[in-house]
């Protein structure tokens, strides 16, 4: 540096220059009285501010919990809401299973009509009722899966490529199994229960794909 450059002096004092440029500016300041004086003032300024900053330790650790409650907790809430959805679906599936077992037993047991649980008379069309419950459970699964798939589609862009590939491969496999199970099931109740299992497995995998990382406390 052969001419006076105030911004270079300031950058030097603030430690923003690369070593080569710093050397040049320093050399100029050493041979130029006014720049030498200005550099000293800028360095003193810098030291004053640095000393003030170093003397303090802002109490920020104590501030984190309230921040976490406002930013991390909502994520946990979403997670819980999804969990509740899955639980509702599981209840629907369990109901089907229970009804199916009960109906099977009652229809196979000669004394079924006099069983205390059927005081108001046995269902007239037990099979039809099971089918309705199966339809309902399937619908619940489909809704839950649609909601999760939407979530997954919006989150996929944030995941790394390898993880996405892994999830996609697994989901494709389960989806195929689900479609095959549905195609083969027809009206057979046992087969339709297996379809529900396939829905359940598929749903859990989408859930895993969506919540790929644990939300820390």
């Amino acid at each position: 540096m052969t001419t006076c450059d105030w911004e270079a002096l300031e950058a030097l004092a603030l430690g923003e220059l690369d070593p080569e440029r710093a050397h040049e500016v320093q050399a100029h300041a050493a041979s130029c009285a006014s720049c030498g004086k200005e550099l000293a003032a800028l360095a003193a300024e810098r030291a004053l501010f640095a000393g003030r900053a170093a003397a303090e330790s802002p109490p920020v650790a104590a501030l984190w919990p309230a921040v976490a409650a406002r930013v991390v907790a909502p994520l946990t809430l979403v997670r819980r809401r999804r969990g509740a959805l899955a639980a509702a679906v599981a209840v629907a599936a369990a109901t089907v299973l229970f009804m199916w077992r009960t109906t099977t037993i009652t229809s196979r047991t000669p004394t079924a009509t006099s069983a205390p649980t059927t005081a108001t008379a046995a269902p007239k069309e037990p099979v039809r009722e099971v089918e309705q419950a199966l339809d309902k459970a399937e619908l619940s699964y489909r809704q839950a899966i649609a909601a999760l798939e939407k979530e997954y589609a919006s989150e996929r862009s944030h995941a790394d490529a390898a993880t996405t590939r892994r999830h996609e491969a697994r989901l494709r496999g389960l989806r195929r199994m689900l479609d095959e199970a549905r195609a083969a099931a027809g009206d057979d109740v046992e087969a339709r229960l297996q379809v529900l299992d396939a829905y359940s497995a598929y749903m859990r995998s989408v859930q895993t794909a969506v919540f790929k990382e644990e939300v820390p406390r």
């Binding site: 923003e16 200005e38 003193a44 000393g51 003030r52 802002p58 920020v60 921040v67 991390v72």
Partner: protein
Amino acid sequence: LDVAAAMTMDMQAPRQEVSAIDLERALVARAAAGDGAAFRRLFDRHAPGVWRFLRDLLRDTAAADEGTQETFVRAHARLDTLRTGDKLAPWLFGIARNVSWEQLRARKRYVGVDDERDEDRPSPEPTPETLLLMREADQQLGAALASLGEERRAALLLRLDHGLGYEEIAGVMGWTLPKVKNEIHRARLALRSQLGEYLGDAA
């Protein structure tokens, strides 16, 4: 920065090869993807600077506490708007600047002097409690800073205390580059006239 690379960067690359900027970008990408631990690390790195900036603007530690929390809550909600290549610190100071504005406006409303234009009026003196905790030089610097108008003080602090470049300060303050240079120059002159002995009377 490729998000996929960012997600795995600080686990795979040897520590010394990961520059501070790359690490920060990785943390931002992970925090934006919902990684709470990554956001906590960003908070730990930047909250002290943000807190001091707000304390210096608001001259009130409780207000700085609240302002810091608000700044990071807003930052978290907008992380995905941070463009690749943007540095986090200036962006955070910009949010903090808005938060402090809002607090000052609310304070004025509360005091009932909103019809007066007092943005450029010097801040009240620091409390005796604060003074007690500061070294003499820090006290003098604090007093000199307090004598500056709020905006000029903010610009000077961003340059000298937080190391932002002039263009970054222009972004935070919403000023043109010449205005940033002019304001910081004037702030410096005021500071030097008050702090002569601490600056070796070089001014």
